[in-house]
């Protein structure tokens, strides 16, 4: 399949949606439960940690011009170990897509489509993801850019409209459950930005793989900004002891918009943003997982894999019996330990390259 090329802005749109779409669901309440009123700047700590890890990945990409991170794994740790690292990335991306899709399904079920079976919602969503994946990274990038401007506009509109609910006193006590706790959680929950590894996975789709650096940093800044704005708005709109109760605080916040008798019930704008952003974000993650898998097993034709992955994600999304299990076990574990899956392949590859390959590489380059 011809992968095609995408522009830098298209890649940024893909990555920002992949990072930020999870903030539309239960993660906000989980953050407030962990760090209280400090949630809005805790996420900036997470973004900073992710930037650190991304810098390591960028060093690898810069040192291996024209290669994506999966090829770099092979080169730095060897073919077999590289395959293992690619499979770890595949697994974590697959799980991330599956869990976020489950959150999306439960939120849709609770607030919008009460009687529709979850299987139908998941099925339709995966169908859309599959169609976009079949068009390849080029189609996905174009779609992401096309919709992102509209999504950004909608996002800003709902945030501005929600200003009347914002009370600054709700941000106090400023340190939440303590600065130490905030920093600790900020580091652990850096997996919220783990999808940044897609910048490395899709590096070859860029006109120059070295562009991955600025794309990655900009995506992390924008994604962090979007998540921080959402957290700030939610924390300033609901007291911390109420925010932790809500299944989807952002949706509730938007549903409270009421400017006079006529301008109210604007949550439809939010639902539009919520759906499309999740579609772009999850498709990117899903396609990233497929890329990792195809690379690991050296598969050229992705189409059969797309279909088998679609069936697998359908099953894993629906295998969890209830929303309580999703909230109590699945999402917290992904957020707390997800960094191992997202970042450990990068750490391993970087250590191998830095201590064993770098000097040799420099020597070859010089001669």
């Amino acid at each position: 399949m011809d992968e095609g090329k995408i522009g830098n802005i298209e890649m940024i749109c893909l990555l920002v949606n992949a990072i930020a779409c999870k903030a539309f669901f239960t993660s906000i309440a989980a953050v407030v439960e962990k760090v209280g009123t400090a949630g809005w700047y805790m996420t900036m700590i997470s973004a900073a940690v992710s930037m650190g890890v991304f810098s390591l990945m960028y060093m690898l990409i810069k040192a291996h011009s024209g290669k994506n991170i999966l090829e770099i794994y092979d080169e730095t740790v060897g073919k077999k170990a590289g395959k293992a690292l690619a499979l770890i990335s595949c697994l974590i991306l697959f799980l991330s897509a599956s869990i976020t899709l489950r959150e999306f399904t439960d939120a849709t079920n609770v607030y919008l489509l009460h009687e529709t079976p979850p299987g139908f919602i998941v099925g339709m969503f995966i169908l859309a993801m599959t169609v976009v994946c079949c068009l390849g990274i080029e189609g996905l990038g174009r779609l992401a850019k096309l919709l992102s401007y509209i999504l950004l506009f909608n996002f800003l509109v709902v945030m501005i409209l929600s200003y009347q609910r914002i009370e600054i006193y709700r941000l106090y006590p400023l340190l939440g459950y303590g600065l130490g706790n905030t920093i600790k959680n900020g580091i652990v929950r850096s997996s919220a930005y783990g999808e940044i590894i897609l910048a490395g996975v899709f590096a070859k789709a860029l006109n120059d793989t070295k562009d991955a650096g600025k794309i990655g940093y900009r995506s992390l800044i924008l994604g962090g900004l979007v998540i921080a704005i959402i957290l700030f708005a939610v924390i300033a709109s609901f007291p911390y002891f109420i925010a932790i109760e809500l299944a989807d605080p952002l949706y509730i916040m938007v549903s409270l918009v009421q400017h006079g008798r006529f301008f109210q019930r604007v949550e439809v704008i939010f639902i539009f943003t919520w759906n499309l952003s999740t579609l772009i974000g999850l498709t990117a993650i899903f396609y990233g997982a497929i890329n990792c898998y195809c690379h690991a097993f050296n598969i050229k034709d992705k189409k059969p894999i797309i279909i088998s992955f679609a069936i697998s994600i359908y099953l894993t999304t629906l295998i969890i019996p209830s929303i309580s299990i999703v909230l109590d076990y699945v999402v917290p574990n992904l957020r707390d330990y997800g960094w191992i899956g997202f970042y450990s392949p990068i750490f391993i590859a970087w250590i191998m390259w830095f201590f064993f390959k770098r000097r040799k590489q420099t020597y070859y380059e010089k001669n």
Binding site: T37, H114, E115, L127, P173, Y177, P239, I242
Partner: protein
């Protein structure tokens, strides 16, 4: 082949998107506008539902040529809210829908017994209930309030219900309390809940013209809902505030107290202040008073107790001077401002004393005190909601009369008998 498969996929998508499991027609539902709860007889609680009669959208005629009412009130005794709604569906041939519910009414008895969280509290979990619904404590039973909660003068019920809430901004005689606010303050550790106090006026407080003077003469603003001396128009009225400690109603505030409370919370918009003319006390002066900006509140601690400095900043516009004294003059207007400042300061101090006596922070001081704490653990350990009685409050009022209406001075009335008056 590729084109055929894409066309096939699109065909399937279109086919699946034509409808969904949640598709319903508008008339599948009975839309509830107001929900109320009282103590039950046949079962634990008595729930009342005011339902919009959608047949009145066309010609206002029911069966037999009679005018169909715009709403129907249905009452049922049940152990809980959802059970009641579900059982009622069996007699309606429609499903009760709460997406357009504007008010939740609890009877005073329920409020005073602290039964809100048991009866209506759980409904916040329900997706159909909008958190923007108003919360009312009715001086009468919720059932009788809901039965009377419809327009007697020519506006639609929806307009009446929306419009009533808006009057809080025009008068300041009752607070604008929505379910999300009420619910969060129930669980709050920095403020305590209040609700709109409402009642049904049977018009008995307006004595006939030839009757003897009312021995229990009360200022208009010092009354509460259901006691306003008036006749005609809607029987229901919103006036005053129900104050809660947790989920238990512990006090009520009259119209004047409610205004001062709103000013201190920064929620006051405007209202007409009428007070005795300082130079002719038997006559009144009316001023339209607006909150210039949110009050400046500073908190400091002395011996572990909070000292709260409150500065209220208000703008006024003269509406009426019964005495015809030239208060518009620049040297007299300052005097009038000082008098008003004194009245408001006295009322504010009395209200703070009331809050301290009840040990209930309905004035939202906690939202300022919390800024002195750095972590949630420290704040929760301090336990603000038990500290209101230890507060020392210093009130400062700044009133500026910026307008004198359409007149810049008052000329005396001329006449043989009235000359010189």
């Amino acid at each position: 082949m590729r084109r055929i498969s894409i066309a096939l996929i699109l065909f399937v998508v279109v086919l699946l998107s034509t409808s969904c499991f949640d598709a319903h027609e508008v008339d599948d539902y009975a839309y509830v506008t107001t929900v109320g709860v009282d103590k039950g007889i046949a079962d634990k609680w008595r729930f009342s539902f005011q339902i919009t009669n959608m047949r009145t959208g066309g010609p206002k005629e029911g069966s037999g040529g009679k005018e169909a009412p715009e709403h129907v009130t249905i009452t049922i005794d049940a152990p809980d809210f959802f059970h009641a709604a579900n059982v009622l569906d069996t007699s309606l041939a429609r499903t009760l829908n709460f997406r357009h519910t504007k008010y939740i009414v609890i009877s005073r008895e329920i409020a005073e017994n602290g039964d809100f969280t048991e009866t209506m509290g759980p409904i916040i979990r329900f997706r159909e209930i909008r958190r923007t619904a108003g919360v009312i404590v009715s001086n009468t039973s919720a059932q009788s309030f809901i039965e009377e909660f419809n327009p007697k003068i020519g506006i639609s019920m929806a307009r009446l219900q929306e419009g009533l809430m808006e009057q809080s901004k025009q008068t300041g005689f009752f607070p604008q309390i929505q379910l999300k606010e009420f619910y969060s303050t129930l669980k709050s550790n920095y403020k305590q809940p209040i609700a709109i106090l409402a009642g049904v006026n049977d018009f008995s407080h307006l004595l006939p013209q030839k009757a003897e003077n009312d021995t229990q003469k009360k200022e208009l603003g010092k009354r509460i809902a259901g006691e306003i001396p008036r006749k005609g128009g809607n029987t229901i009225e919103f006036f005053g505030t129900a104050v809660f400690d947790g989920d238990k109603m512990v006090a009520e505030l009259d119209g004047y107290e409610t205004r001062i409370m709103l000013m201190m919370r920064g929620e006051y918009s405007q209202g007409v202040f009428s007070f005795s003319d300082p130079l002719k006390p038997e006559l009144h002066i009316s001023v339209n008073l607006r909150q210039r900006r949110k009050p400046k509140i500073k908190v400091q601690f002395e011996d572990g107790n909070p000292v709260i400095n409150i500065k209220l900043m208000l703008h006024g516009e003269l509406l009426a001077i019964q005495s015809k004294i030239d208060y518009e003059e620049s040297n007299k207007i300052g005097y009038l401002e000082t008098v008003m400042e004194g009245i408001i300061k006295k009322e504010a101090e009395a209200l703070i004393d009331k809050a301290k006596e009840l040990n209930t922070d309905f004035l939202y001081f906690g939202t300022h005190v919390i800024r002195n704490f750095t972590t949630i653990q420290e704040w929760e350990k301090y336990n603000w909601i038990e500290q209101m009685e230890n507060v020392k409050a210093i009130v400062d009022v700044d009133v500026r009369i910026r307008g004198t209406g359409t007149m810049i001075q008052t000329s005396p009335v001329k006449g043989v008998e009235v000359e010189g008056k």
